[in-house]
Symmetry: C3
Subunit: 475 residues, 3 copies
């Protein structure tokens, strides 16, 4: 390594993406424009004909436009995607640019592709073959991208931006299909996406990481882990995720009590989760000190795990119990499972998404199935039961019991799509054409970013003079 002095020597692989990255960005963005031109139109609530629609339907107030029901939640979700996920991953000492920057790139591409993919499945107007979009589509596109960003967490620092874009292209596609099967075909409920988003996204990422296993990753050991300030930056991500998770789980819940209840349940589960995370983190470290990794991540597990059941009558104490368990399980995951998986299963999971998304997502699916199966007309009210589970149309004869079964089936679909899709996409990403970094150059922004000069060399003017003098003295 000595002969690296004076020239750029980030590993022995070529991380030059000067052709591939711009090419992918340009071509895909142009494709988006064409596809949007052919397929995407405003829906009746975002179109100028809304005035006429109101008159027709006897709607007396603009406030009935879905925009006013969902826009505040949408913006919260938007913050979670871009600031929440982005900053949560800045914890590494020298990968903050990559964390927040690639997160930004991937999400910006993903939401466009998601509008199309999800639109074909859910918002196609069969009268003219166009996808009609409104605020709910934007929220769903953000949700879809969340799945891919979760997967990014597993491979953080080990892939090139081109690989991330490929991961997102396929991830969004798989997500849309999986979501269609779970929500429309099986008619399962999953307002907060424990199954559809978290279980799928996490296993998708873990499967990719498994295929891309790097046996010599400890050559980058010096850059694994955090520094003081990077941990504080990561807390920005953690807190915005934590605070806005009630919006995440309630954003596309039913108007009225559905959204209201989903927010309350999530709020409670998250609060409970913080205490057990702290407890386990403290009790398992010598001297009882807390570990920032746990505080940054495991505190969020409660939000993941009430994703499916948030709009059901989970009850307030039920939400607390879910958060209680998830804080414990997730923290133990960081302590025990992540090292085990790396060593024995050859799955390198940079952000520990297995503990934050995979296990709590799976549990969330199970909790959802149980809660659904246990629903009774006496608890929900006749109308409430029908509305909560949407027992209408083809599904009007479905009983809560059977619904529970379909919920469980949905969980399996998410797992299969995540693992299966991840392995396939992992194989594609293994091709030696994507400009990924060498084993000794991972977790380093140097590979893909123009870095500013080093912080310690930029003293304030007085200090500067001091140094001058000291150096002169040394001379």
């Amino acid at each position: 390594m000595g002969n690296c002095l004076g020239n750029r020597c980030v590993g022995n692989k070529d991380t030059n993406v000067r052709i591939s990255l711009p090419a992918v960005c340009f071509v895909w963005q142009i494709a988006m424009i064409i596809l949007f031109g052919v397929f995407i139109r405003y829906n009746y609530e975002s179109d100028t004909h809304w005035v006429e629609y109101m008159a027709q339907q006897n709607i007396t107030s603009n406030i009935e436009n879905d925009f006013y029901y969902r826009y505040p939640s949408f913006q919260d979700v938007h913050v979670m995607i871009f600031v929440g996920f982005g900053f949560l991953m800045t914890f590494l000492k020298r990968y903050s640019f990559g964390a927040v920057g690639f997160n930004f790139l991937v999400a910006a591409f993903g939401i466009q592709w998601a509008l199309l993919m999800q639109g074909w499945f859910h918002s196609l107007d069969y009268t003219d073959g166009k996808i009609k979009i409104g605020i709910e589509n934007l929220i769903n596109a953000d949700f879809c991208v969340a799945g891919c960003l979760i997967a990014y967490g597993a491979v953080l620092g080990k892939v090139s931006p081109v690989q991330l874009l490929v991961m997102t292209l396929f991830g969004v596609t798989l997500y849309a299909v999986e979501e269609f099967i779970i929500l429309s075909v099986l008619h399962a409920c999953d307002a907060g996406g424990s199954m559809v988003i978290h279980t799928f996204g996490a296993y998708y990422g873990l499967a990719i990481s498994w295929v891309l296993y790097r046996p010599n990753l400890d050559q980058s050991k010096r850059l694994i882990g955090s520094v003081y300030h990077s941990d504080v930056f990561a807390m920005i991500g953690t807190l915005f995720l934590w605070m806005f998770w009630p919006s995440f789980n309630s954003a596309i819940a039913y108007h009225g009590d559905g959204q209201h209840r989903a927010a309350i349940n999530t709020y409670l589960s998250l609060a409970s989760c913080v205490l057990t995370t702290v407890a386990i983190s403290s009790v398992t470290q010598k001297k009882g000190k807390l570990d920032m990794v746990h505080i940054q991540n495991a505190t969020l597990a409660g939000g993941v795990a009430v994703g499916t059941a948030a709009e059901f009558l989970l009850t307030c104490y039920g939400s607390l119990i879910v958060g209680f368990c998830c804080g414990i399980i997730s923290t133990f995951g960081y302590l025990v499972l992540t090292p085990f998986m790396e060593k024995s299963l050859k799955i390198q999971d940079t952000c520990g998404i297995h503990n934050l998304h995979a296990i709590p997502g799976f549990l969330g699916g199970v909790v959802g199935a149980i809660t659904a199966a246990a629903a009774t007309p006496s608890a929900y009210g006749e109308e409430g039961l029908i509305e909560t589970f949407d027992f209408t149309g083809n599904f009007k004869n479905r009983s809560p019991n059977i619904q529970g079964g379909y919920q469980a089936a949905g969980l399996c679909v998410a797992l299969v799509f995540g693992i299966g899709g991840g392995i396939l996409v992992g194989l594609i990403l293994k091709l030696p054409i994507w400009g990924d970094p060498a084993d000794d150059a991972c977790f380093d922004d140097e590979a893909y970013w123009e870095l500013p000069e080093d912080e310690e060399n930029i003293p304030p003017i007085l200090e500067y003079n001091h140094n001058m003098t000291r150096k002169q003295q040394e001379v």
Copy 2:
């Protein structure tokens, strides 16, 4: 101190909380689950029977669910509690983990306990003995916790997380009682909590800090004060508090003009406060330079001081005047009062909450009393007067004049509860069982956190080689 080299030596007190912290977290969280199971239920707006309720009451639209009136404000308040308070306290050079992390822990516990305590006083359904919660309860729980986080500001860096949890347990309890007396018994108004939250919280914290006085705190002198980046982090807290304060003061104000006016008044008072803070900060420093401590804190005093009167007809210029005065008073507080209090009154106030919360909160109570006493039917309109001060039921014969008296009485209640409660709780916290740090180990994350290696030792790869070589050369 020389023999500390090579082993952990944070002071000569045992800060090991490996048993106490997990024990408190677990036991209290389990208690919460049990109490929630026994007492807490969804209210009519978050329950599945909302559909039937709507039909019964001839409510035609889901938008009338209180969720849509208050959820955006709730999320803003939530951000203030977790990011605002948390990051405001990150200004210390080596206590950012403790600031943002313990803030997180304390708030997550506090909101649960607050839902119970406040619920018993305000949301108990006497037909079935259950507390029925909705979005307004969540906001009030956040408010309640704000009082305890203010108190945290006074003892920042000098207490253990276990002490903080104990402080919060008692703080929330006292808050709920005090709030019940002020809002329900005295029927005083306090939408933004100048009295209930800020005056109470600040004196609670100051009294605790007085009891816990550390005569040798200057042994930790090296860690008091900020570094460049920690001041920037603290500005994140400041700005989110400042921006969302209009939501704080309007979150539980009356629907319609009440919320609208509260937001406007707060917006104006805060704007005015920034200018006078800058003026005083500059004029009192040699060379006219600004002090970050003032910018970070005193700019917020205007929001505190319109808490009570925000929904009254304070008038726009009245709001500006309140902010004008508070910026001046609060900045002088930091310059004069904080050092005086430490030296003469033996009150060590790490964040200067006396200047940011105690004085402006007290002034806010006074402003509220005056504004209420000065209310006239000609200014408010007959109906407006009744609605603003809720002169209904038992209070329908109360005049604005008398209301002013009750407002002042409310302020006294807040003071008494703050100081009295603080002294009692301070005595409890003085017991030598809580794992607090020694005088020479305060303001140091080392005591309760696993810290990452030091920033300057993590060079980018090129630098790394450089250093290697240089060191080798030195050898």
Copy 3:
């Protein structure tokens, strides 16, 4: 410079603002209080007579108060102004205090002055000569300040806070006049302010920077540019601007479909813009590495450029195309135009606002004119067309074609006011009384801020002992 050791020596100009800064803050704030006292009152929606108004107008629900239509967007805009603009400018290695602190000061003053200036033009109640304010006025005040903060970007690090306040005083005044001419006289539409805010603000700042040209600015070269963490801080600004831009462009759009469509169009344009920014940034750097300057700034150009047309039927793919082009143009601006302008046109543009606001703002005006001119009743619906362009009252016979012409005229007005006003204000700011820094002391917080001791000298306790020992050994 050697004789600077041990005493403060930031350049050879006197940056002492101990008299001027407090004087300006005090006098202006007092003026605000008096003017607010004379002129500003609550409007019918924020006044206690709202209850009676509702009864009169047969409004059945408080939710019809404009507060509930606009408050969530207002808070998002508020975050953009204070955190977005503030943190975007923290990228410089030693000017973060100035960036975020002066931004705070300037905005807090500006919003008050804007409420008055815009109020006289738009919200004056001729029956009593009072300005009646509500939530929309607060949003517009924030918008107005945005123009001045854009201008701040051009002179960042080169002016004193007093100069900034003067800039803001005149900037807000010019803005209010220009806005009145464009929106009321010409009856042009500009919901997101491509012309009114961005074009005006950018040329205002650039003209000032041109007049204040510093030929020897490279004496401060050591402080131009970023450090690793300052770039991460700047990303906080970027992301909050990016995420909340849909709220910015829709905040004062028409209720219902107008706000809905404006949010969708902006969301799409911004997403598209990110991909082309990344593409150009990568393809133009050797080794294909990305430049943080581009990611932080050019990604936002798409939001600027759909400001005018956001509420029109721009179509979804039209929005993508606008973003596509702006990402390319803006990034090339940073690569080519900024250096060219500094060298050849003598315009020093610290933040590159020419690329982020001037060009995209101008393009946005053009896009708006074209989209308006191309509007047809068949696309918009008869009623939709009237509502979107407000073809009522004096303007009921205006055709879309003619509207397009007036839109273009509006763009010219913005340009003329920006450049003309900027030159005049620049001449005022050139007077040697404002305490601006010398050429070798620019971009340095040292001039106007009490700075904390340097980061590297504050080791944790163990390190501290180490150092002690080492120093002792050295002795």
